[in-house]
């Protein structure tokens, strides 16, 4: 479903992604684990047509996202690290706009919005503005929205960041359910080891722009001779703390938080 070969991305002299190769099977849940600044988001951006690779090849359902951009975009859904709902609009309106943007025919649109919103337990709140939703509900709405155009793959970039354990638990239950009922391939990134352990069939550990290990949770533990995935992760990536210099995006994030208390 996803095939990546010798993928490289350079920003000036800095090599953010160094020659990585992997593939994701149809219907699989695949997790990308890595410390801050390891290259997770950069990789997702290249897979989702938002960034052009410096070299190497990417295939999404047989398509090259760099050349067949719009075709590739119809095949996947994406949930970004930062919220991307229009908080002034209602949940239903957010779904509706997505359907129009992805050319979902009107009749299908109405039926599918209702089905997905019921599935994600949001139907009763469909007429409420997204800004009145809790963090977990917003995330669920974004995932429901990303499924609207029946994509074959969904990309979830740290979807549980900032959620409480109950919401995280519920979110993954939904994702697993979706994966089973709709046979959608899931590509996710996360910081939480136990989540990857629980939902992902295979895990790639990425550090300093390269993949340092790839396999099922059991294989990774065995390979490193550790008991838990967290220990395996720390053994593979070291326990040094990564200081990311604050980018302008971080500053904006702070600002956005200050201005919208309900986020």
């Amino acid at each position: 479903m996803i095939r990546v070969q010798n993928l490289v991305k350079k920003f000036g002299d800095f090599e953010a992604v160094k020659n990585i190769s992997f593939h994701v099977e149809r219907g699989e849940i695949f997790a990308f684990l890595g410390p801050n600044g390891a290259g997770k988001t950069t990789t997702i951006k290249m897979l989702t047509t938002l960034l052009k690779p410096t070299s190497g090849s990417v295939e999404i359902d047989g398509l090259n996202p760099a050349s067949a951009q719009n075709e590739a975009r119809k095949r996947f859904g994406i949930v970004f690290q930062d919220p991307s709902l229009d908080s002034e609009l209602t949940a239903y309106e957010n779904m509706e706009i997505h359907a129009v943007l992805y050319h979902v025919p009107r009749a299908v649109r109405i039926e599918r919005i209702e089905r997905l919103m019921k599935l994600f337990e949001l139907w009763d709140r469909r007429k409420d503005a997204a800004k009145t939703f809790s963090g977990g509900m917003k995330r669920r709405l974004e995932i429901a929205r990303s499924m609207l155009h029946t994509p074959k793959i969904i990309f979830l970039d740290e979807p549980t960041l900032g959620l409480d354990p109950q919401s995280r638990n519920q979110l993954w239950t939904h994702v697993k359910h979706l994966n089973e009922t709709e046979q959608v391939t899931v590509f996710l990134t996360t910081h939480y080891m136990e989540e990857a352990d629980r939902v992902a069939q295979r895990i790639a550990i990425i550090d300093h722009g390269g993949i340092v290990a790839l396999g099922s949770s059991a294989e990774l533990k065995q390979q490193t001779g550790t008991e838990t995935l967290e220990e395996a992760f720390l053994k593979l990536t070291g326990s040094a703390i990564r200081d990311e210099s604050a980018s302008s995006a971080d500053a904006m994030r702070q600002m956005a938080k200050m201005w919208s208390p309900k986020r």
Binding site: D82, D86, E88, L89, L101, R253
Partner: protein, 248 residues
């Protein structure tokens, strides 16, 4: 087409739902009308230019359309880093359609805002010489709105953080307003200053409004219309270009 429509609709819905903001943004024009209308009125009258309130009302309408449209254009910056814009930019639709939907929607909101200010002016005692020319005034408002939403979009696409915002406000938006002749006649100015005001696109918008509403013109209606048309197209081009260059 559907895509442009739904994004247009989104902007207009957002405008109507932000009622406190609508009321707040009517405050500034009212303040100008009262402070300048009453404060400068007697001097203006004595200088033989007639009623200052009549004179400044088209300028105040132009001002509110300018502010509203340039800000909604620049608000793209917020939307882009942490909001909804991402959702539209990964959709399988051409960026041009996204830019057009947004711009037309914001411009529509600005026209509605301008019309509200027009009503406020009427309440304050402003009287257009001929009500039949009001549709023409709406055309000029639309041109001002589209022009500056497109300019705001171009700027919003270029900025990467909020630091530049204050700079734009002080060195672009306020000069555009103050040099436009919204508050004073453009006739009999020192040559160098007159030249500067003639470079300000809003001068032609306000002059157009003034021509159709109170029959007083500095450049002539044809010049106003041609200049507004050309600069609007130019800014749409700029907006489209920089919008297409946005990287997430």
């Amino acid at each position: 087409m559907n895509v442009i429509y739904i994004l247009w609709l989104r902007e207009v819905k957002r405008y109507f739902r932000s009622r406190p903001q609508i009321i707040a943004s009517l405050g500034q024009p009212v303040l100008y009308l009262i402070a300048f209308g009453f404060g400068m009125g007697p001097i203006f009258q004595k200088a033989g230019y007639g009623s200052y309130r009549q004179f400044m009302a088209p300028g105040i309408i132009g001002m509110s359309v300018l502010f509203m449209s340039i800000f909604s254009g620049i608000s793209l910056l917020f939307d882009r880093q942490f909001g909804f814009l991402k959702e539209t930019l990964v959709a399988p639709v051409p960026r041009l359609q996204i830019m057009l939907g947004r711009t037309l929607g914001s411009a529509t909101s600005a026209i509605i805002q301008g019309s509200l200010v027009f009503v406020v002016c009427l309440i304050a005692g402003f009287r257009p010489i001929n009500p039949a020319t009001i549709p023409l005034a709406l055309c000029f408002m639309a041109a001002i709105a589209i022009m500056f939403t497109a300019l705001g979009t171009a700027i919003g696409s270029l900025l990467t953080d909020m630091q530049g915002f204050q700079l734009i406000m002080n060195f672009l938006v306020m000069p555009i307003f103050f040099l436009s002749g919204a508050l004073y006649p453009l006739k009999n100015l020192p040559a160098a200053f007159a030249f500067v005001t003639s470079l300000d696109p809003l001068s032609y918008g306000v002059d157009g409004l003034r021509t159709v509403l109170i029959g007083s013109s500095a450049f002539g209606l044809t010049t106003d219309a041609i200049v507004m048309g050309c600069i609007t197209l130019l800014f749409i081009g700029l907006g489209t270009y920089f919008f297409s260059k946005i990287q997430l």
